[in-house]
Symmetry: C2
Subunit: 664 residues, 2 copies
Amino acid sequence: MSDVFLPQPHDATAINALRFLAIDMVQAANSGHPGAPMGQAAMAYTLWSRHLDVCPSQPSWHARDRFVLSSGHASALIYGLLHLSGYDLPLAELKKFRQLGSKTPGHPEYGHTAGVDTTTGPLGQGLSNGVGMAIAQRVLAEQFDREGFELFDHRVWVIASDGDLMEGVASEASSLAGHLGLGRLNVLYDANQITIDGSTDLSFTEDVLARYAAYGWHTVDVTDGNDLEALDAAMREATADPRPSMIKVRTHIGFGSPNKQDSSASHGAPLGEDEVALTRENLGWPHASFEVPAEALDAFAPVATRGDAAFAEWAALRERYAEAHPEAAADLSRREQQQLPEGFAEALPRFSESDGPMATRKASGIALNAAAAVLPELLGGSADLAGSNNTDLANEPFFSASVTGRNFNFGVREHAMGAVLNGMALSGLMRPYGGTFLIFADYFRPTIRLAGLMNLSPIYVLTHDSIYVGEDGPTHQPVSHLAALRAIPNMVTLRPADANETSAAWKVALERTTGPTAIVLTRQGLPVLEAATVERFERGGYVLSEAQGEADSILIASGSEVSLTLNAQAALRNKGHNPRVVSMPSWELFDAQDAAYREEVLPRNLRKRLAVEAGHPLGWERYTGLDGGVVGQRTFGASGPGGDLGKHFGYTVENIVEQFERLG
Amino acid sequence: MSDVFLPQPHDATAINALRFLAIDMVQAANSGHPGAPMGQAAMAYTLWSRHLDVCPSQPSWHARDRFVLSSGHASALIYGLLHLSGYDLPLAELKKFRQLGSKTPGHPEYGHTAGVDTTTGPLGQGLSNGVGMAIAQRVLAEQFDREGFELFDHRVWVIASDGDLMEGVASEASSLAGHLGLGRLNVLYDANQITIDGSTDLSFTEDVLARYAAYGWHTVDVTDGNDLEALDAAMREATADPRPSMIKVRTHIGFGSPNKQDSSASHGAPLGEDEVALTRENLGWPHASFEVPAEALDAFAPVATRGDAAFAEWAALRERYAEAHPEAAADLSRREQQQLPEGFAEALPRFSESDGPMATRKASGIALNAAAAVLPELLGGSADLAGSNNTDLANEPFFSASVTGRNFNFGVREHAMGAVLNGMALSGLMRPYGGTFLIFADYFRPTIRLAGLMNLSPIYVLTHDSIYVGEDGPTHQPVSHLAALRAIPNMVTLRPADANETSAAWKVALERTTGPTAIVLTRQGLPVLEAATVERFERGGYVLSEAQGEADSILIASGSEVSLTLNAQAALRNKGHNPRVVSMPSWELFDAQDAAYREEVLPRNLRKRLAVEAGHPLGWERYTGLDGGVVGQRTFGASGPGGDLGKHFGYTVENIVEQFERLG
């Protein structure tokens, strides 16, 4: 970062280059959002050319500043920034904006385009990811920095739109950021007064800066979004302030377009050839479509110059660090390679029958603590249900404004928790987890989906997983939630049947690096199943209790219904039937097995099949077919003691026997 | 409401009666939340005895004030209030707190217990429902009030907890309420500084009143939550102020418990017999468990006295209104009976082939406007996507701080939109709808579930329903969403195949009164199917195109894949196969048909079945079985023109033929 603001001769050219690249990309695709990039160009240029410490040749450098374009519809802006700053994003890719197979999709996608630090588009998420990124910076500094070795000293910069600030997830995350005093987080708020439906006067007239001041943020008002000196001063002020900063930047959507500036007409559609020509004239831009003048590249050159120097300095520091602090350096290397420590699996607990009955949430807390003892990258907490979710790490401090620890009080903010977990995971060096009741998975579902899309691997600890919640009643009893989670791509949902399957679930979750994992757990105690081994669990479904001789039918169950189904098997035997019992903790893991194994567990010719799960039957027919049945429920729960509810909803040996005998 | 505050001799007895009823209920159930009722008792008593205009003998009176216990875990408080005020909730029900079949479930449930105005428990929802209730009051006054006939002059009172105010949905709804100037909304914020995990200092240190001032609310600070005079003055002030009011009331959780006051120990567990005895002693309460002294009933008597008088006055006014304004009175009666006007169905459009291709979102806009022309109770809007969702009502004003209309700009606030729709629906006199992209159904999913639980019937207009969204890319392309919606009890999900099925979908949605309906619509144009009649659509699945002679197989599709599947049928015929094509717009409607009809459409012995839907296949196996197949996708989408994506993901005649021929 330069120490004083000096206007550069090519500033205007660089800013207009960003604007016209965006205009041209959208025009070429005949689809996209030109207005926001045109309005945000000056703040983005000021940030990138003077403040942002990134290294275009090392886009995944773990200690880089993060840039989050929370207003992801302005994707043409970030592609312009990446191209002009020297990232591996040639003009040819910009010309394929929004085309299948290009590096320039409609909204920025992490893992798809080098230099994109998070996937944005669904509003409110990027800013909230930024909160997680700022937390990650503090944790990494705490875990790795040593005297003379400031390895993790980076900042998080966000550009957010009116829409981001209307979303509840951003409100939750911002309140949390203020509470935690995350001074490394700076937000540039693109206040252009326009949303898709028209002026913000239609729906959004609150005093945003006063709200952020109430959250405990530092606030700045930049009244002219094209005033580079004022923008630079605000960024300096934000960097200096120990609180998170909200910089309101008054901009003009579609800046420079004679007929569409300050209008929602420039938000989500190409300007059109005629208007593009008028805009070229108006802004004095003599260049052809996608033509980038050398002056624009010159103006962006400091990004790479500064970045290469910073990265080289960091790499050298890292080498000296390896000598001075070999253990910490080895841990960092291991985490960079997404490796688990040797012997990690052995640290996880095995349970025996005499440990039961034990709620799987309790077993989860034991397994989590065992894992955390050998995995410093494992960190997380609960959305104000830590005692119920068993998510606290023993003997670890809680992360607060003054203390950096691995335990988190997320508050009653499930959606922010999900987004923060994504931000932490995006550090590439952390394994975050978050707990709440399964019923509240709906509250942060958008973030689960984004974790799947980004191939991030946060772990969700979702307890109180059925009507067995009991007295709290139907408001707190999940019915649709398992089915809904199982429909999310790249996600693995695990519903362990006992303490041993729970321990195995943690192993599976921690070994995953390509998407999120939900561990779905009981409130109530369950018998411990000694036959539930890790190896069997990892296949997603397995024969837990074989028939006597050749099976004539199959009972399939998950979670708390597995031990119930074992009892039903015994009752059915007494009535002359001979079913096997399959424990099926994970559809995704089972479906990933080879055909031979799946045939072994669920032989194709064995059509008499009954699945048992305390939830909506939707999807179980994949395993039970047209001739089978499902013991589940299509209705909401009720308030009463769990045992009473189990009987009421038919989760009994008697009902399983009856439903079984109704099958053909 | 009395004009001046006069302390009553039995105030303290009444407040302690509320406290001890809550303590005793939780103790009897050995489960529940005593602390919040103990802290909230004084404000609740002040509100009910002096301000709230309700009529215990007419709990569903449409012009009553609404009372929302947003902190639903404090349910024992509302049961106490209802009992003491003379609602039909005898002590015997209080003694069955949290038992199966009782009127006193763990969290208050609308429709289950007379006097409960909305279902609460999931935090943030009640307050946000209150915003919808306050909107409903203004709309009802606008639609029905005439000079000399103020029929709808009620207010909405909410008790909210720290947890409610941490939830993003409440932030969104509160910002909207400030914007819309909803002066009839008054919130009592139970600031007890304690959440489940401990002190709010752990996670929630923002300045709540400053935040609400930033939203444009009137704010009041009551520093002693047991000071009835101060509480009364604050409620008066709130009533007088034209803005929504946030009254911060500093309380003590577990007030009166010597060892558990101000501690999270009193939040979610019984106090225990010993501590109950100590609390009795401490608060000077000589009465036995569940014993209610006459003085307490006396103190609450004004609720019924005032309510009976107010209701009688209103009923008389209503009679005179029927004479003076017979048409409006008839409309009100019709709406009270949840009847649609005669000839309503005829108002909906029919389309012919020559109208196509037409996007179903466009047909939806036409059908919606046709319906709105004959249904004054139909009102709604979009979460800042009105132009894309086709949700605007032509020639209707937009609801704002100064204008009361049937069009709403909800802003980029999907979650609040869902909760506000629930609040509007709770008026019993409105049919609200809300639009956004299907992808953002995840953002307001908790409110869909609550609509289902409450048997409310808002309508969700969910456009851009698959990878055919195109260039916006995977961030905006739903894959899991249909499956996830179909798993919600009491919900009907409709995915119409063309303009005619879309018109029929509106008929089905508007005729439903027992749960929410989602109408899932395309961005892209589709051929119009003249064979798609209302009668066929209403059965959920029907043979759209019969096989030639006896069918040898079945193709099943929904939405945009129906016309594709018709093309595949032709191609398969050319290859010697003879499938029928079933259009299946709604699983729920189809499953509700009798067995004979279902057998007619999907004959049990016809096992060669292929379903086609641009989404996750989860659940389709219910209809395709172990021998069938599904053309769908288990992966996220991609950015590119919709046509390219259709090919890429296999939604082509060629792929359908190939997948069909792979079946046994």
